[in-house]
C-alpha cells in the first residue's frame, strides 16, 4: 500500500519526533503531519507541523483538512513530568483522546488508528499471571488514576471501533521504554544517587528498547490489526539485578513506609515516584508478546535484559559492560 498519509499526535515527544523521522525516511509514506503545541525534538524534513492543542476542538477541522488515512495517537502522558500536574495529565489523556476521536469521526479518509497505550492497564499485582495476555485487562480493579485514565481511553477506542467497523483501531500496550537517549521515570529512577527499593521484594520487570518502541509503531502502522497488542522486549529482568547492573546503591525500605519515604526523598530532589511506578517496584509486571510477533509481524531486536544493558552501557560508571554483554547474550 503506497502513498500513505499519516498524522502523529504528540510529535514533540522523543517517540513522536523519532516516529515522524522514520516515516519520512520510508518510501511508503507520502505525507506526514505532526500535531503538538511543542516543537519537534529535532528538525524534521518534510513533516508538516500542525501547532494545536489536542484538547482543542479545532483539531477536528485541522485533521479533516490533512486528509490522512492513518492517525497515530502518541499523546498519552504516562508519568508525572516536573511541569505537569496530575489534573493536566488527566485532561490531556482523557479529553485529548476524546477530541481526537471526534476529529477521526469527522475525517472520512481515516482508515486506521494506532494508539500508543500502556501495559499499565494490567496493573502490578502479587498474584497476577506472570505474563499478561491481551484479554486479561479485567482480572483486577483499576487502582490508580493513571490506570483509570488508560481504562477510559481504551473504552473510547473500543466503542469507536464498534461503531466504525471500516476503521481499524490498534491499541498498542507498551511496557515502559528504556534506552540511552530516552528520559522516563525508570531511567530517572536508575540514575538517582540512591535508589529506594521495597525491602524483601525483587519484582520481575519488562521493558521495550527505545528503538523497538519506534519500530513497533511503524510495524503497526504498516500492518494494522484490530484490538490490543502488547509491546515489550522478550524476557524479564529482576529489579535487584537491574539496579546492580546500573551500579546504584539501594535503600531498602519496609513496604508500609515506602510511600512516605519515597515522598520525602522526592522533596529533597530525588525523582518522584508515581503510584503506578511504586506498585511496579513492588510486584513487577510482564506481558506476553505472541500477538506482536505473529500478527503485527514485529520481533523486537532487544530482549528486556539487552535493552536494560543498552541503557546501563551509556551510564555505567565502571568498565564492566563487556562482561555483562556476555551474560545477556
Amino acid at each position: 500500500m503506497a502513498g500513505r498519509r499519516v498524522l502523529v499526535t504528540g510529535v514533540g515527544s522523543y517517540i513522536g519526533t523519532g516516529l515522524a523521522r522514520r516515516l519520512e525516511d520510508h518510501p511508503d509514506f507520502d505525507y506526514v503531519a505532526g500535531l503538538d503545541t511543542r516543537p519537534s525534538r529535532s528538525p524534521l524534513e518534510r513533516t508538516e507541523l500542525i501547532e494545536a492543542d489536542i484538547r482543542d476542538p479545532v483539531i477536528a477541522t485541522l485533521i479533516a483538512q490533512a486528509e490522512v488515512d492513518t492517525v497515530v495517537h502518541n499523546q498519552i502522558v504516562r508519568q508525572p513530568e516536573p511541569g505537569t500536574s496530575s489534573a493536566t495529565m488527566h485532561d490531556i489523556n482523557v479529553i485529548g483522546s476524546l477530541q481526537l476521536l471526534t476529529a477521526c469521526e469527522r475525517s472520512p479518509s481515516v482508515r486506521s488508528i494506532v494508539i500508543r497505550g500502556s501495559a499499565g492497564i494490567y496493573g502490578s499485582e502479587p498474584a497476577a499471571p506472570q505474563f499478561f495476555g491481551e484479554e486479561m485487562t479485567r482480572l483486577y480493579p483499576l487502582r490508580t488514576r493513571f490506570q483509570r485514565d488508560i481504562g477510559e481511553i481504551e473504552n473510547y477506542f473500543l466503542t469507536f471501533a464498534r461503531r466504525h467497523p471500516h476503521v481499524t483501531c490498534t491499541m498498542l500496550r507498551y511496557q515502559p521504554a528504556i534506552g540511552p537517549s530516552l528520559e522516563t521515570q525508570i531511567t530517572r529512577y536508575l540514575s538517582a544517587p540512591v535508589v529506594p527499593t521495597y525491602l524483601g521484594y525483587d519484582p520481575r520487570l519488562q521493558f521495550v528498547h527505545e528503538d523497538d518502541a519506534l519500530d513497533a509503531l511503524v510495524a503497526a502502522i504498516r500492518r494494522p490489526v484490530r484490538g490490543a497488542v502488547n509491546v515489550a522486549g522478550p524476557g524479564t529482568i529482576g529489579l535487584t539485578r537491574l539496579v546492580r547492573m546500573a551500579g546504584r546503591p539501594t535503600l531498602p525500605v519496609p513496604a508500609p513506609l515506602f510511600a512516605s519515604t519515597a515522598g520525602a526523598l522526592g522533596r529533597t530532589g530525588l525523582p518522584r515516584l508515581s503510584p503506578d511506578f511504586r506498585n511496579l517496584l513492588r510486584y513487577g509486571r510482564a506481558v506476553d508478546t505472541t500477538r506482536l510477533t505473529e500478527e503485527v509481524g514485529f520481533t523486537p531486536r532487544y530482549s528486556t535484559p539487552a535493552a536494560a544493558l543498552d541503557f546501563v552501557a551509556r551510564h555505567a560508571p565502571r568498565g564492566m559492560v563487556p562482561r555483562l554483554k556476555r551474560a545477556v547474550a
Partner: protein
C-alpha cells in the same frame, strides 16, 4: 594452612578491602582488588560475590535464578538427608524430557514438599530436571518469601502460568488440594481433600501433558495444625492463620519444620494426549481423570505411611 596463617590472610584481605574503599573504589572493585592475596578457593568465592554485586548473573523470564538455587542447595541437602531422611521411589515414572504435570498431595504452609520433590528429581532422576512448582498466590505478597520462592522455581498458581510453562516443555508441579490441603487440621492428615473443579486436569488436557501422581508422606507432620485463628488471618490478610505447637508462639522460629521422616513416590503417568485439547471442555472426562489421580495419590500415600513406620524416628 595453620590457624595463625589463616588469620593473617584474613587481616590482609580486610586491610586491602578498607584501603580500596578509602581510595574511592566501590565495593565490587575493592573486593576484587583485595582478593588477590587469598588462597584460590576463597578467591573464586570473592569473584563470585563480585559478579553478583555487578548484576552479572542470569535469571530466566520466570525469575528462576540457577546460581541462587545452587547457593541454597546445601540447606536443601541437609533437610533432605539429615532432617527429613527422604526416601524416593518411582523417579523413572517422570519423563526425562518434554512437558509433564506432577500432581501431589499438599501439607504444610511453606512449599517444602515442592522443594523436596525438586531435590529428589535433581538427585535421583537419571536425567535430572528442575521442576517449576505452582505456589498459592498469597505467598507472593510476602517480603523475602516471595522473592526466594521465585528464585528457586516457584510461580504463582494460575492456569495461565501453568499452560505457558507446559508450552515451553517444562516439568510443572501442582497441588490440586490447594489451600484446603494446607489448612487441614492435624487429625485429617493424609486424607486428601476435594480436588476443586479439576482445573489441573483441564490444563494437562489442553497442553497434552501426561499427569504423574505424586504421593508425599512426611510433609503433613512438619507443621501440625492444632487450630486456626480467623481474627489473625483477617488481620494479616491471609487465607487462614494456623496455630501449631511452635507457631506463632516462637515468632519466626515457629517456621522451623518438625523432623518427620519422609517418603516420596512418583506413580505411573496418566496419558492425556490421546483425548486431544478439546477433552478439556468435557466436564465429565475432567472430573473422572481428576478422581482417578486423587485415588492414585490417596492409595500411594496410605501405602507409604505404612512402609515408613515411625513418624519421627
Amino acid at each position: 594452612m595453620a590457624a595463625g596463617q589463616g588469620i593473617e590472610v584474613a587481616t590482609l584481605f580486610l586491610r586491602g578491602l578498607r584501603g580500596g574503599l578509602d581510595a574511592g573504589l566501590d565495593l565490587p572493585q575493592a573486593l576484587a582488588r583485595s582478593a588477590s592475596g587469598l588462597p584460590r578457593g576463597a578467591r573464586e568465592r570473592v569473584r563470585g560475590i563480585r559478579r553478583r554485586l555487578d548484576g552479572d548473573y542470569q535469571e530466566d523470564e520466570w525469575g528462576f535464578d540457577g546460581e541462587f538455587r545452587d547457593a541454597v542447595e546445601p540447606v536443601f541437602d541437609f533437610l533432605y538427608d539429615a532432617w527429613w531422611r527422604v526416601r524416593v521411589s518411582g523417579v523413572e515414572n517422570v519423563p526425562g524430557h518434554g512437558r509433564a504435570l506432577l500432581a501431589a498431595n499438599h501439607g504444610g504452609i511453606l512449599p517444602w514438599d515442592a522443594t523436596m520433590m525438586s531435590v529428589a528429581l535433581m538427585r535421583e532422576h537419571p536425567l535430572p530436571r528442575q521442576p517449576r512448582f505452582l505456589v498459592l498466590d498469597w505467598a507472593f505478597e510476602l517480603p523475602f518469601i516471595s522473592s526466594t520462592i521465585r528464585k528457586v522455581g516457584g510461580v504463582v498458581a494460575s492456569p495461565h502460568n501453568a499452560l505457558r510453562l507446559l508450552g515451553q516443555d517444562e516439568l510443572v508441579a501442582v497441588f490440586p488440594e490447594g489451600v484446603k490441603g494446607m489448612a487441614k487440621p492435624f487429625a485429617q492428615r493424609y486424607r486428601l481433600q476435594r480436588f476443586g473443579r479439576g482445573g489441573f486436569v483441564e490444563i494437562a488436557l489442553r497442553a497434552g501433558a501426561p499427569i504423574v501422581p505424586v504421593a508425599v508422606v512426611g510433609s503433613e507432620e512438619i507443621y501440625p495444625k492444632l487450630g486456626e485463628s480467623r481474627t489473625l488471618a483477617r488481620a494479616v490478610g491471609a487465607p487462614f492463620f494456623p496455630l501449631t505447637p511452635l507457631f506463632p508462639w516462637l515468632g519466626p522460629l515457629g517456621a522451623i519444620p518438625l523432623p518427620s521422616r519422609w517418603r516420596i513416590e512418583f506413580c505411573a503417568p496418566i496419558e492425556t494426549a490421546s483425548y486431544g485439547p478439546e477433552g478439556a471442555d468435557d466436564r465429565g472426562l475432567v472430573l473422572e481423570l481428576s478422581e482417578q489421580v486423587r485415588q492414585t495419590i490417596q492409595r500411594a500415600v496410605l501405602e507409604n505411611v505404612v512402609k515408613r513406620g515411625g513418624t519421627f524416628v
